[in-house]
């Protein structure tokens, strides 16, 4: 990793931490809110710009499109989350989402920085990845994951603004448990079977409980007007994430067909992407069918976030993606 690239990545990491705190403070100090939101946005723009530069320089250093391993996809994910938020903020003025977007980006930076050095180093590609398809196929997927995350996070704020605090807390605990399963799976040698149970169990039980808790409403919290905005934002994220995911899955199929002669082989990671795709297709149908309250849809978007997390990071870290090893000769 060149020094320039390191410096830029670190700048992006540090500024994302700063913007997180400033945005969080903006929610606390109501009277300084506007100023703090401005500072937060400025810091986040700085983080976004330096990360953009870091990714470009990494590409130049590596003489290839810089999206080939986990570390690089984490950088891209953070980049898309920040960029997606900045666009949403511009279109909708959704400042509440700021601290969650910064938090997501900074968690990705942390996760990335804990990865072993070999991930940070620029390494040669295995034959299967040497193809122009790589930059057609992978970026839309990462971007769709980031949008689905933003959609789920908007779902959280929607729940808050609609006063569904118990449901919100239960959903938040669920996501934290799922995330910790992923982190433990990546960085410790805990038996992956337990972590799979942790992830799946937490997701299942947590989702059911969150749905049940929806009926508890705290009328003193939140703002219904805002709830409606976040409902809409969540839908926008998913409506745009869905074509990106579809494009990513299909170009993946075209690439596989080009390289191996089959566009679908039920590889676990492929299947997981299909699960995510189906769940968002269900979300879209729930929407157009309009029999579902905004809060239920918010919870569906959070379930979607869990599936996205599973597809993006869960499969490899929980020991399920092992079948897909390139260039291995049996």
């Amino acid at each position: 990793m060149s020094e320039m690239q390191m410096a830029l990545t670190n700048t992006a990491g540090i500024t994302s931490v700063m913007s997180f705190w400033v945005f969080a403070a903006a929610n606390g100090f109501k009277n300084r809110k506007n100023l703090l939101v401005k500072i937060g946005s400025g810091t986040l723009i700085l983080a976004f710009t330096s990360l953009t530069a870091a990714i470009i320089i990494r590409g130049i250093d590596a003489q290839r499109f810089p999206l080939a391993n986990l570390y690089e996809s984490l950088l891209w994910f953070a980049w898309a989350t920040m960029g997606g938020y900045l666009l949403l903020a511009k279109a909708y003025g959704v400042r509440q989402l700021g601290w969650l977007a910064s938090l997501t980006a900074l968690l990705m930076f942390l996760y990335g920085s804990w990865l072993p050095q070999s991930q940070h180093d620029i390494q040669p590609l295995v034959p299967a990845l040497v193809s122009y398809w790589r930059w057609i196929h992978v970026p839309p997927l990462i971007i769709s994951y980031a949008l689905f995350f933003l959609g789920g996070l908007s779902g959280f704020i929607q729940l808050y603004q609609a006063g569904r605090i118990p449901s919100l807390v239960s959903a938040a605990i669920t996501v934290v448990l799922a995330l910790s399963a992923v982190v433990l799976g990546t960085f410790t040698s805990v038996d992956t079977a337990w972590l799979q149970i942790l992830f799946a169990g937490a997701s299942l039980v947590g989702s059911v409980i969150s749905f049940r808790l929806l009926q508890h409403i705290d009328k003193t919290r939140g703002d219904l007007r805002s709830a409606e905005i976040y409902d809409d934002v969540s839908y926008r994220c998913i409506a745009i994430g869905m074509p990106a995911l579809t494009f990513g899955i299909i170009t993946g199929g075209l690439w596989a067909n080009h390289a191996w002669g089959t566009y679908w082989s039920w590889d676990p990671k492929e299947s997981m992407a299909l699960v995510t795709w189906l769940s968002y297709a269900a979300y879209i149908h729930l929407r157009v069918h309009r029999e579902c309250s905004a809060e239920k849809l918010a919870l569906v978007s959070i379930v979607g976030l869990l599936l996205t997390l599973m597809t993006f990071l869960g499969f490899n870290s929980l020991g399920l993606g092992g079948l897909h090893s390139y260039g291995k000769f049996k």
């Binding site: 034959p127 409606e228 309250s293 260039g327 000769f329």
Partner: protein, 518 residues
């Protein structure tokens, strides 16, 4: 508007046809399918990684249970296939009963609306004009057109539409999905595929092809010979690319085509594609004092190795990196910590180990060839295109804006709830019998952005043509809030009828149902 569309849909009849065409069933089936695929992603599949893998991972008891439940080969299980069949039926029923008929609505023109109707939309506003009434309307038209709206006007009324073709999203996507099924079926009934490791100078034939049980295809009578195969490395020793030079041989042995393939560049001949899918070294042939002996190689990290036991304790080990590179000879004894290198042999440099002279005869590479014949592919690819375009179209919001320029009179006072706010504007208009510009509309999807658009429009018109710079009517904000209260809590909203009525007060709900039926 919603009431009408609701009436059009049979409510209580639960005939088989209606269940089959219900979106509830769709969501139910999609969730089940997602869970099934999830199970398939979690459990190693016999067809991909073999039975042993399942046993290795879960132990023999659990493995046989999983196998009995069909989870170890879930994508071929009757359960999964019937799910897909149900989804297909559901989609066909929905498509023909609900989705495709909507296409007709596209060409149905919508009427221009008067101020009192416009006031019923969830997003609406009005500006009391001070001057140049006509040009105010023209200015709105221009502003909407610049935002991508298609504008039509008639005297003092205006109707603008955005994202009309976004309404075809469902149709296009579903046509794509049905086409995909057709493509996959064609392939499964007429195509075949397989994998064969082929040694240098040997032949690929198609005898061990895999195809479905309901197969009506035919296997080729030509074969493929591997004339050369090699590996190219990165400077670090990691493999960079694999190549194989292939020649297609006719039934009579005639050479028909020769081509070098590599990963990502296959050979295509008569509808069959042959891919470079893996590469390795299979064996070495060594000559020991005149006796040839073949030793099988096994991959060991970046190298390949062969083992030759000499006696009870001593093992000879030959390691080779790629064909053409010299072979390192090691000896291993239990009392040594690591194998010791004892010699190196290459094609033109035999080794002498005591009384034995060892010569390298050849290193035999093996190329892993994947082949397939996929006659449904063009159909499948067309389906992919439809699906991508369809879901892209689903992201386009569909919006209508109605504008009406009217002389304010008590009769024109917009009705509906929230009229208190409108009254402010009305009063000032009534005084001088002034002209009022009413505008409002609805957006399916991306409603907040639409509200912003209408508000911006209101602000601009008020600034340019308004009686004063004060925005006279600001109903939107409050209206939406009270509306959201109803939406937020539909369980509490009582009967379905009430909900529908609430939907009316807030104008169109959030589906396409309301479109074009006012």
């Amino acid at each position: 508007m919603n009431i009408e569309s609701d009436k059009n849909e049979p409510k209580t009849k639960t005939s088989v046809k209606n269940v089959l065409a219900s979106v509830k069933l769709t969501i139910f089936l999609m969730s089940l399918t997602a869970l099934t695929v999830l199970a398939g992603a979690w459990c190693p599949q016999e067809s991909a990684s073999g039975k042993e893998k399942v046993v290795e991972q879960f132990g023999p008891d659990a493995a046989s249970l999983l196998s009995q439940l069909g989870i170890t080969d879930i994508y071929h299980s009757p359960w999964f296939l019937s799910l897909i069949a149900m989804l297909t039926l559901n989609m066909i029923a929905c498509s023909f009963m609900r989705v495709f008929p909507r296409v007709k609505l596209l060409s149905k023109p919508l009427p221009f609306l008067a101020g009192k109707d416009i006031g019923k939309f969830p997003v609406n506003a009005s500006v009391v004009l001070a001057k140049e009434e006509k040009s105010a309307l023209a200015s709105v038209a221009l502003k909407l057109a610049s935002k991508g709206f298609k504008v039509s006007t008639s005297e003092e009324k205006l109707l603008a539409e955005y994202g009309k073709y976004g309404r075809l999203a469902a149709t296009v996507t579903h046509i794509g999905l049905l086409t995909l099924l057709v493509g996959v079926t064609i392939t499964s009934w007429t195509g075949f595929s397989g994998f064969q490791p082929v040694l240098l100078n040997s032949h690929l034939d198609f005898h061990e092809s895999e195809h479905s049980k309901l197969w009506v295809g035919k296997l080729p009578d030509w074969t493929v010979r591997v004339d050369a195969t090699r590996r190219e490395d990165h400077p670090t020793g990691e493999p960079k690319q694999w190549f194989s030079k292939l020649t297609v041989l006719g039934k009579d042995g005639k050479e028909l085509v020769t081509q070098e393939i590599s990963v990502n560049t296959p050979l295509s001949y008569k509808g069959v594609d042959i891919y470079q899918s893996s590469w390795g070294l299979d064996h070495i042939v060594l000559n020991f004092n005149g006796n040839e002996r073949r030793l099988d190689l096994r991959p060991m990290g970046k190298l390949y190795a062969a083992f030759l036991p000499l006696d009870k304790d001593t093992m000879m080990l030959f390691s080779v990196r790629c064909d053409g590179s010299p072979i390192k000879v090691f000896a291993k004894r239990p009392d040594w910590e690591a194998p010791r290198i004892i010699s190196e042999i290459s094609k033109d440099k035999p080794a002498k180990l005591g009384p034995v002279s060892i010569m390298l005869v050849k290193t035999m590479p093996v190329t892993g060839l994947q082949y397939k014949c996929d006659p449904g592919l063009p159909v499948t690819y067309a389906a992919f295109a439809f699906i991508i375009i369809g879901v892209l179209m689903a992201a386009i919001p569909h919006r209508h804006v109605w504008v009406s320029l009217e002389t304010a009179s008590p009769a024109a006072k917009p009705s509906g709830d929230g009229s208190d706010e409108i009254a402010t504007g009305m009063q000032s208009a009534e005084k001088g019998n002034q002209k009022v510009l009413y505008f409002g509309g609805r957006s399916v999807k991306a409603k907040v952005g639409f509200e912003r658009l209408v508000k911006d429009l209101e602000r601009q018109i008020a600034a340019e043509f308004g009686e004063s710079n004060i925005v006279p009517v600001l109903k939107t904000h409050i209206d939406v809030e009270s509306d959201s209260q109803k939406q937020v809590n539909p369980e509490k909203a009582g009967s379905k009828k009430e909900q529908v009525l609430a939907g009316t007060a807030s104008g169109a709900g959030n589906t396409e149902n309301a479109q074009g039926e006012s």
